[in-house]
């Protein structure tokens, strides 16, 4: 069986789902179910003391889904480490999606602070899944630091622009010894399929599932896209060529010579 293995644990789904920006808890659940995911991300924020809302955790079945807390909001390694430790104190398994994004306009991950935080968190026993720029050299450093995956971005978070960084992702996939999860910017199932065709081990999608009126259907569409891409990759895609190569025979033509 073609399972995804991360930190010694096996998953049959190669589609991770983010839980942000949904119009309702029902929409979020529908997306997760349609996607048939096994790993979902969540964030950590202050409770609004003046208007405390019910915890969204009650809508996530912890027997069915692995909770992957992210360190979104962190602007440097120190803030990221603090968030990871808080998540762990909440009783989560020590898995963390490391996210250090100091610039709020493009939300690009800071490579220096991400590596710094990764080194600290790996030493503290976390399974670190780092959200990172599509930088193959950084990928090597993170792998050496002991992260359990690499999570290069396809395009900035929430932009739905697809694999803008495809050439670099391709190099990362070629050189990585740990699973590569393409995260951010995947706006359509075809983007997810393309990532899988390139040899990515998994993808993470959030905005595309939240930005629709039909989260269940979109979740399923992404699930199928990921499956299609993976199947094609395993079957072996043909090379791209410059010159045409006929599909029908070049002999026996019915014509006057």
């Amino acid at each position: 069986m073609d399972t995804l293995k991360i930190a010694g644990r096996s998953f049959s789904s190669r589609l991770m789902v983010g839980t942000g920006k949904f119009a309702s808890n029902a929409a979020m659940q529908a997306a997760m179910e349609g996607a048939d995911t096994e790993i979902v991300t969540v964030a950590l924020r202050r409770v609004d003391i003046n208007n405390p809302a019910d915890s969204m955790l009650q809508h996530i079945d912890r027997d069915r889904y692995l909770l992957l807390p992210n360190t979104s909001g962190a602007r440097d390694a120190e803030e990221a480490v603090r968030l990871a430790r808080l998540a762990r104190a909440a009783g989560c398994e020590p898995w963390v999606k490391l996210e250090v994004t100091p610039d709020p306009y493009y939300l690009l991950p800071d490579p220096v602070e991400t590596l710094k935080a990764a080194e600290i968190l790996v030493k503290e026993g976390f399974n670190v899944l780092p959200y990172m720029p599509a930088d193959p050299v950084l990928a090597r450093h993170l792998e050496e630091a002991g992260t359990v995956t690499l999570m290069p971005l396809g395009a900035p978070i929430g932009t739905n622009r697809g694999l803008r960084t495809r050439d670099l992702i391709s190099i990362i996939i070629e050189q990585a010894n740990i699973p590569v999860v393409v995260d951010a910017g995947l706006g359509a199932p075809s983007h997810a399929a393309e990532a899988m065709e390139m040899g990515a081990d998994a993808v993470l999608v959030n905005t595309a599932l939240a930005d629709t009126d039909s989260p269940r259907a979109m979740g399923e569409a992404f699930k199928l896209g990921v499956q299609a891409g993976r199947m094609a990759y395993l079957a072996g895609l043909g090379p791209q060529r410059n010159q045409a190569e006929a599909s029908s025979p070049m002999t026996g033509f019915l014509r006057e010579e």
Binding site: G18, T19, G20, K21, F22, M28, T41, V42, A43, L44, R45, R46, V47, I49, P52, S55, M56, L57, L67, P69, N70, S72, R85, L86, A87, A89, A90, I157, G158, A184, L204, N206, T207
Partner: protein
């Protein structure tokens, strides 16, 4: 007792424990994470802990995120 709660200064009539504070705010203790003066406390430690003036308390929860 005047403490900083989630970044805001707040006045309380008496010195409360964290558990009493959560009750007063209507918060379920098993849905939040507590950090007191930059020290993360697990629930067993947090609930009976006595707060005092000038304490900095953070009450954190999980929310949707990518």
């Amino acid at each position: 007792m005047k403490i900083t709660l989630n970044g805001e200064e707040r006045e309380f009539g008496s010195e409360l424990t964290i558990g009493e504070l959560l009750t007063e705010l209507g918060l379920q203790s098993n849905r939040v994470v507590i950090e007191l003066n930059r020290e993360i406390l697990n629930l067993a430690e947090a609930l009976p802990r006595q707060l005092k003036s000038a304490d900095k308390l953070e009450i954190i929860q999980f929310v949707g995120g990518g």
